[in-house]
Assembly symmetry: C2
């Protein structure tokens, strides 16, 4: 099946919109008017919504999933093109990510991973270029690349003489040490100005490119505390970061994993769903969560009702939905400000097999600043995954020549591009950005408020998870939380089917 989402470019066909994905659901709905009302409506079929839907249906609740797109997965989905999976959004997982790993094990997929990096052959080096002059690349071994970034990251994160362990001892309880707020309030730029005299030019360029890869934002608008939180979640080490953030992916792509949640929920016989169904408004009768129905109106005017609604709409598009009663002041202001991640992710199939073991940074001049050899396609070409950020932003479908130029700048003269595949998350009306990344002070000011109940509506999204916020893991954490809350509330209301 082909999704409306995503773009593909080849020299032969040019740019086309829509790429094939296992995540497309057909037919797009399975409900009848007689199915109303529902126990629960889940808005959004990303991992958060899928998890909530699965947990609710397994627990016996009649659940309606409404999804604006034609596919499951939200900001994580894969396109399978000519037998090779391209990750359009969230990609990497690790056994140190509790929620996603629990599901990987539960769905017997712990042997379904493959490494992204493969430093065994060919162009087996790291290429660093900080100037548009193509002749000034620095080449180094991957061991030297590790040393460079390790050293720089330790300088960045060692705010307490203990690699961040003292200031952030329990990352899920982020203000356990209240002084952490100071770092949450700092931007990347603020922190770098503190350590700039300790950084060599190569360290600084590599560090900035890496942390911008994490935030997708700019040095001035990305929270240093949020990066420290990733660091703590990763075990306070460079190696932990590399392992958790960018090392292991699904051999057959994310959408094969998302399908597991979907199939389990569908198998209960309690899942209703409507795809291609953007939501216009959510209205909660009296807003006290006491059991009166919540009504969800789709853009096409159709109204669905349920005892509870779990709304998994991302922060950056939340203000496009009308809520009655209106969003709390904190939630409204956070949604208005939005998170900063305007990441550009572009896959390039290149005709140089030897690039499989290559990594590169072209920063700050290039619109794609970080790339790695991520696989070998069935015909033997190398798959490069390339990232740009809001610091030097690229809309990859607007001018493909510009995109091709940015890919080419990564390793001038080393390859020809055979195909591009990407999803422009920034212009996606249901995302308006990539994974969450906090502005300075946003976690301090808004995290608690974003997690609060809103009458009969529970807001759940990786954007305000406690642990791996922004990650697939955080989405599952949040879907789990929301479903449990609703199950515990509705069980007494519907009467326990006691058997004892």
């Amino acid at each position: 099946m082909t999704s409306r989402d995503g773009y593909q470019w080849t020299p032969q066909a040019g740019l086309t919109q829509g790429v094939p994905s296992l995540g497309v659901i057909s037919p797009p709905t399975n409900i009848k008017d007689t199915n109303e009302p529902w126990d629960v409506i889940v808005i959004g079929g990303g991992y958060c919504g899928l998890t909530a839907t699965r947990d609710l249906t397994v627990a016996g609740f009649k659940t309606l999933l409404l999804e604006a797109r034609d596919r499951i997965g939200g900001r994580s989905w894969s396109s399978n093109i000519d037998g090779y999976p391209y990750e359009m959004g969230g990609t990497w997982v690790h056994w140190h990510q509790a929620h996603v790993w629990r599901e990987i094990t539960r769905y017997k997929m712990s042997n379904a991973l493959t490494p992204s990096f493969n430093f065994t052959h060919g162009v087996n080096h790291f290429q660093l270029r900080t100037s548009p002059n193509a002749s000034v690349s620095t080449y180094m071994t991957h061991e030297a690349e590790d040393d460079l970034l390790r050293t720089a990251l330790h300088k960045l994160t060692n705010v307490d003489g203990n690699n961040g362990r003292t200031i952030l001892p329990f990352p899920h309880d982020v203000f356990h040490v209240p002084e952490f707020r100071e770092y949450d309030n700092m931007s990347y730029a603020d922190r770098i100005s503190q350590i700039q005299d300790e950084l060599s030019p190569n360290e600084r360029a590599t560090l900035e490119a890496f942390i911008l890869l994490c935030s997708g934002g700019k040095l001035e608008n990305s929270s240093f505390g949020e990066f420290l939180h990733w660091w703590a979640m990763s075990g306070y080490t460079y190696q932990g970061c590399m392992d958790c953030l960018i090392s292991y992916k699904f051999r057959d792509g994310q959408s094969a994993f998302a399908r597991q949640f979907w199939n389990e929920a569908l198998g209960t016989g309690r899942l209703g769903y409507v795809f291609d169904c953007p939501v216009a408004s959510v209205s909660d009768g009296d807003g006290d969560g006491s059991g009166s129905d919540v009504r969800v109106t789709a853009r096409d005017g159709r109204v669905h009702a349920a005892k509870r609604v779990i709304c998994t709409i991302p922060l950056n598009v939340l203000s496009g939905i009308r809520f009655s009663p209106p969003l709390s002041a904190i939630r409204a202001s956070a949604a208005q400000a939005g998170h900063v991640n305007m990441c550009t992710k572009v896959h390039a199939e290149v005709d140089n097999q030897a690039m499989r073991s290559w990594t590169g940074i072209t920063y700050p001049f290039n619109k794609l600043c970080y790339a790695i050899g991520d696989g070998t396609t069935p015909v033997g070409n190398t798959h490069l995954v390339c990232f740009g950020t809001d610091a030097n932003h690229l809309q990859p479908e607007e001018d493909v020549r510009e995109t091709l130029k940015a890919v080419g700048e990564l390793a001038p003269g080393a390859f020809e591009v055979k195909m591009l595949v990407f999803h422009n998350w920034v212009k996606d009306e249901f995302a308006k950005g990539a994974w969450f990344f906090s502005r300075p002070g946003m976690v301090s000011d808004c995290l608690e408020g974003l997690r609060e109940r809103h009458g009969g509506v529970v807001f759940a999204n990786s954007d305000w998870a406690l642990g791996w916020r922004s990650f697939i893991d955080g989405a599952i954490e949040e879907g789990t939380r929301a479903a449990r809350m609703v199950v515990e509330e509705l069980r007494p209301e519907r009467g326990v089917r006691a058997c004892l």
Copy 2:
């Protein structure tokens, strides 16, 4: 409530059996004869059985939990004495342990942890003694202790020039690289003989004490591969090991956590239970798992029947139950051989407040070889947790003077013991050992067979988990697996309560 399990000793009262615990369930049963038959019977109320019971009851299945003891938790439980929790068995958890952390987050307990180590004051050093001569202790800073053990562990684990990453790249898929079997077949002693020329005497003593602390066995009968598996699960680093294995515990004790699973299952109205109910035999009508009832006979002669049985009995006591049809040859031989962990764990309340920041190794001469300051009791004494292994075995209740002597040897003259608290897992008829630790070759030979179906009986236990085998995490992994298998099987059999 006071459990029959555990021992307490004070100078005033001497040795008494049974200690108070939040895990004791009263009344010990809630079922009537009219409740028969059940959808599922779960044998064993440790974390594996609790997880399976919770998942089954939440999914709508009428479930009977049979537990030999008077309490939940199995090999992980805490005793609360004078307002202070002592962990009688499994203790430490970390956010890099997927299954247990998922539950900690789900039960909103991610802010309920406390660190074991506290290196801030008093006797803030590591004390190493390798000879019974009390005057030859070596004292060093905790930084030096870290350096010593880090160096030694890297020598131990660096079998591939890549810190174990090459030989064990996917620890949940343990034979992904088939050559890993070579290391699984090696004992600790085998591996140490390979690297002995690289180890200083202090490195060797510290290393041996630490890895024996992990296995609870002897150098000759503990699998080196099993330790490599822990190492890989921890992220292939010393710091990862320390973080995952021994750093964070529940402020209020394990039993407060186990209660969460219990309360959720009970809240569904679908949980029947009988405590003080050791099982004598399990009989599966035709052994094909086709839906005919499985019968479980308790030692008191009472028979319970269900469509499926989830048996969570630990490996070392499995051969004490009669199964019909009989256990597979692999399962029977693994149960007969047993795992090697004969750990002795003794808590000592000592009258020296300054010992809070102390750690020590007394090896090989002492019957307690590894100890750390683990907390401060309400009256201001230090709580030391002390470990012995089968390499120099102690039955702590047999001769309390011998136990007190072994505690005293840890830091001669530094304190008086005000209280001892312990559970003798080796003599416990429902455990016959502590957490699982593999003999050389046991994982190669038996892991797959231990995970196989047995007609209508699903065997599930941390002892044969794929990930954090031996840990609370592995118990939850296995309970999750078993429940899902049974739910998927029974759902079509009972007819889906479809609502669409």
